[in-house]
Subunit: 130 residues, 2 copies
Amino acid sequence: MKDQAEVETPHLPTELLVCVKCRRGHEISNEERRPGKVLFDTLGAMDLPGGLRVTAVECLSNCSQGCTVALRGAGRWTYIYGNLDEESQAETILEIAAQYNATADGLVPWRQRPEHIKRNCVARIPPLEI
Amino acid sequence: MKDQAEVETPHLPTELLVCVKCRRGHEISNEERRPGKVLFDTLGAMDLPGGLRVTAVECLSNCSQGCTVALRGAGRWTYIYGNLDEESQAETILEIAAQYNATADGLVPWRQRPEHIKRNCVARIPPLEI
C-alpha cells in the first residue's frame, strides 16, 4: 500500500499567463501581430505538460520590460518574468513553466531555473489564503 | 425593497502585502530594522479601513526597486507597487489601499491613483479563476 506522499495525485492546474498586448518597445501597426501575441501563439502551439494551460491576458502592467509572462495556480506562489523575446525564448518559458508545474507550491529552486529566468524575475506573490 | 446592487454586502477581505525583508539598497546591520520592516510596522499602526489587513511577506522578489507592496484579494486583480520610501510614503500606500479596498474587482481608475502609484506599478495579475 502506498503512503499518502506516494499517491500520484495530479496538482491543481497551472496557468501560464501571457500579456498579448505587449509591444516590447516597438512601433506596431494595426495590421501586425504584437510581440506578446506572437509569443502567446507560439506557446499555445507547443507541446505542454499535463495540467499546464496558456492564458492570454490584456496587460500585465510591466510594459517597459516586456514581453511578460506569469506562472500561477491555486495554493502556489505566483511568479512574473519579463524582458522575454517572443522569437527566441518560448523554449525558456516552457522550461520554467514545466519546472513550476511539477511543484506543489510554485517554488522552483533558484539554481535550477533557466539563466534568463534567474535574472528577470519581476516580482512574486505568495499563495492566497482565504 | 433594495435591489441587489444596493444591498450593502461587504467585499471579501483585501490584503496589503509588505515585503519586510527589503533593504531598499542600503547596507543594514543585524541590529537595525530593515526598511521593509519599518514600513510594515508603520502601516500596521495606522487606522485601516474595514476589510483591509496588512500582511508581512518575506521577499516579493522586486529587490532592486523596493520597498515593495502588493494589494490583492479573492476575485480581484493583484497589483504590485515599488520604489516606495518607508519613511515618507505610508500615507500614499494607505490611500491606494483604501481605493482598492473600495472596489469589487481591484481596478482603481488610473487617474484617481496617487502620483507615485501611477508611475511605479511593477506588475498586475488577473483574478484567479478556478
